[in-house]
Symmetry: C2
Subunit: 463 residues, 2 copies
């Protein structure tokens, strides 16, 4: 039980070889044993959008590329697999030297995507392509889900800012880190999560808790003590006892700070009727010339509640959103899948593949997605085509990895965020509505349709 | 972009100092500056059960203890905080030497708990107790939520086994690891997640994917190839083209294996009408003397679907459950909170604390939970009392850490799982129903009631 110290790094994607489903490794072992390691191509796409989402924001590629570049099986990993007694030594020897050598095409992080559109495509020797499925899905499903939810919340907040306050309810540490990343990319202005701030260079934002107030004999003393420590960074939580009384005390503190040349940054409301309270608090502050003091609100918020607050005239500048955003509570999973779309046949020729299980048909072949905009730059429709086709419109998939090596440097998160917001600005308003559900038009090119029909004829009538 | 190798360990709780909300650190800095680092006590408890849960299974203590024992701020962490420009050097110096020195009381992992019952109680110098809040909530909320959901699923499955198939939809890597752990503790028989198997010593279980079948020219060849690699561990996925035809091919393989002295382990159904298909497949297998071949089913399952399958006579031995369990989809967050319940006053005396915000009243003082059983050992009711009271019944909270050191060795996961199942067996049936919602009786002791009333009188009339 000795205390351990270390410089272990979190938030990166090292040594995740074993974070895979066992069947990926058993299938790999079988492929290995039978020399079936030809080139195969897999698409990752979302089968169906959750019922209260009109679009998704693709996020998570950076972590996938980092994972693919670093993927390996360490000695302990091999020893663990050996202990299972199901793998032959030759395969374990192969795993010792394993690295990912494939090519990856993907949409840029922050791209708006719809059902059935490939987010990422892997072409690699079959074993490599297979083993990476689980982690790729785990990462892209999660960050895409969060960015999509956060985008709705940021949209609902209009000119007000949204901050990620979710770590305590996120699903573990990785979720807390990546919820902060994905929600920032989608338009949040920062996170309360310090480690996420450090790892991903996201602005960190904080106020104070009720326990702070409660550990002083009176509220004014608590406020004053905090303001002394952070004269340039004080947001006072004013609802511990009575919000209006709290606001009056905040005025006293703001004036004391003002006398010393400092400005109170804000006050926070965390309970009660946020519409009425925010209006009253705003009046109390403004009457005293404290129009620069922002009002922060939190309290189980989501896009619907924020829209209602704004509709009713709440005077709130910053929304702190936790659980609902960090767990995407109304749609806590998206149906991202990873499916074989091209394979090498016995003659060594690449052939398109289709899956025909009931209700789970897949699009065969290597594909490209073309996005067609109108003359104002607004998105009009998408066409999923075969890669060999050249259509008008913007191709969304680009090559990001070749022979296991990244082709671009890691993008700055501020660049990804900027692009995301530009993309969202080009999405017609009706799809951004949080209450209307309307499907954005996604078409299948004629050539792809013909290929699908041919394959259905060949492999069986829709079954 | 060089490839990095390393022996970094995941699934443990090192170097998580910065995985905290910024306000924990700013409050800490203010306490530090003003010498307010007296002993404070915080309870972690769940305010309200989600509407479709009658009970929760407390899990996550092991990770919290590991975190508390290892908690520190590394050089990089301090440098990052310094760069924020809001912390004074004295505080950063203090953080360099920071370690957790407090006492922890907690219920054992696998204990059944209800709303308002303390799961864990921390008594420590205020700064230490404050900084650890975020991570404790992040870990215990998640694992408790998953164990509670998994427990319902395992209960619904009756004699059939349940396996965690969730990694691809879990919220990131830590969620995938700990969903496997929590669901195993709650009664699952294993996980598909290899890394979770390695870290937590959970049985790992796997079958095969459609892509495996599709990479062969025909299904029989795919089956045969796999069976050759894993003569003792083959579960054939039989629904890629047509489940009944797949079952017939599985019979051929089972007989080929039998001729060599091996037994086919099972077949898996992943689509279609699982009731009808499982009955037909069972008949096909049994007719050929293959009653030892198990039927595994997966396909967006949850406790309701499993109960319906069983009700309708489905012949399924093992359920693979993914998304619904790994995200606790119908209740993807629980409202675990961490609240000040005792503090040191100006005279240096320990005094009970209460929070009186609207609808968010807390139970003051250091508490114990007594569980009263009837003579068969069935749980009858709980009483939340003050620690100083001695009541009949089983006290649930025990001291697990003193001065920052664990008092017990890490428990074996099989022990935790066994205890959990024993606890669940003692919970009356009506609370385990997946459709009836009935509140288990949790009372407040007379002494605790009197304390609450006194504090309300002292600090204001319910506000």
């Amino acid at each position: 039980m000795a205390r351990k110290k270390g410089n272990l790094k979190f938030g990166n994607e090292y040594n995740m070889g074993l974070l895979t489903d066992l069947y990926q490794l058993t299938m790999a072992a079988s492929y290995f044993e039978h020399g079936k390691n030809e080139i195969a191509t897999f698409d990752m796409f979302v089968r169906k959008l959750p019922k209260n989402r009109n679009y998704l924001v693709a996020v998570g590629l950076e972590q996938v590329l980092e994972y693919l570049e670093n993927l390996h099986f360490g000695e302990e990993d091999i020893a663990y697999l050996k202990k299972q007694g199901i793998f032959k030594d030759e395969f374990l020897e192969y795993l010792k030297e394993f690295r990912f050598t494939g090519d990856v095409y993907a949409v840029k992080e922050g791209t708006i995507i719809f059902a059935n559109e490939p987010i990422l495509r892997i072409t690699a020797p079959r074993i490599e392509a297979q083993i990476v499925e689980t982690y790729i899905l785990n990462q892209i499903n999660f960050q895409t889900m969060i960015a999509s939810k956060a985008s709705r919340i940021v949209h609902a907040a209009k000119k007000a800012a949204v901050v990620d306050f979710s770590p305590r309810r996120d699903h573990g540490s990785d979720a807390a880190l990546k919820a902060a990343r994905a929600s920032y990319i989608a338009g949040c202005v920062g996170t309360s999560n310090v480690l996420a701030g450090k790892i991903y260079e996201i602005p960190i934002i904080g106020t104070m808790a009720h326990s702070y107030i409660m550990s002083f004999d009176d509220e004014l003393e608590a406020f004053r003590t905090y303001a002394k420590t952070f004269p340039e960074n004080t947001v006072l939580l004013i609802d511990t006892y009575n919000t209006i009384e709290g606001a009056k005390k905040a005025v006293i503190i703001a004036k004391e700070m003002g006398a010393k040349g400092y400005k109170l940054k804000g006050v926070r409301l965390d309970s009660g009727d946020l519409v009425e309270l925010s209006k009253k608090v705003r009046r109390i502050l403004d009457k005293e010339g404290l129009d620069y003091v922002k009002i922060v609100a939190s309290s189980d918020l989501n896009e619907y509640k924020i829209a209602e607050l704004i509709e009713k005239g709440a005077k709130i500048d910053i929304y702190g959103v936790g659980t609902e955003m960090g767990t995407s509570k109304d749609a806590p999973a998206i149906s991202g899948v990873y499916k074989l779309c091209e394979d090498t046949n016995k003659e060594g020729k690449l052939v398109a593949k289709i899956k025909l299980s009931e209700g789970k048909i897949t699009l065969p072949g290597r594909k490209q997605v073309y996005r067609i905009s109108n003359k104002n730059g607004e998105y009009k429709k998408d066409i999923i085509a075969l890669e060999e086709e050249i259509l008008d419109g913007e191709p969304l998939l680009e090559k990001v990895m070749e022979n296991g090596r990244r082709l671009q440097e890691k993008e700055k998160i501020t660049e990804i965020r900027k692009r995301t917001l530009e993309n969202l600005a080009r999405l017609p308003k009706k799809y951004k509505s949080i209450n209307n559900y309307e499907a954005y038009p996604v078409e299948i090119s004629t050539k792809l349709k013909i290929l699908i029909e041919d394959l259905i004829k060949k492999y069986g009538g829709g079954k």
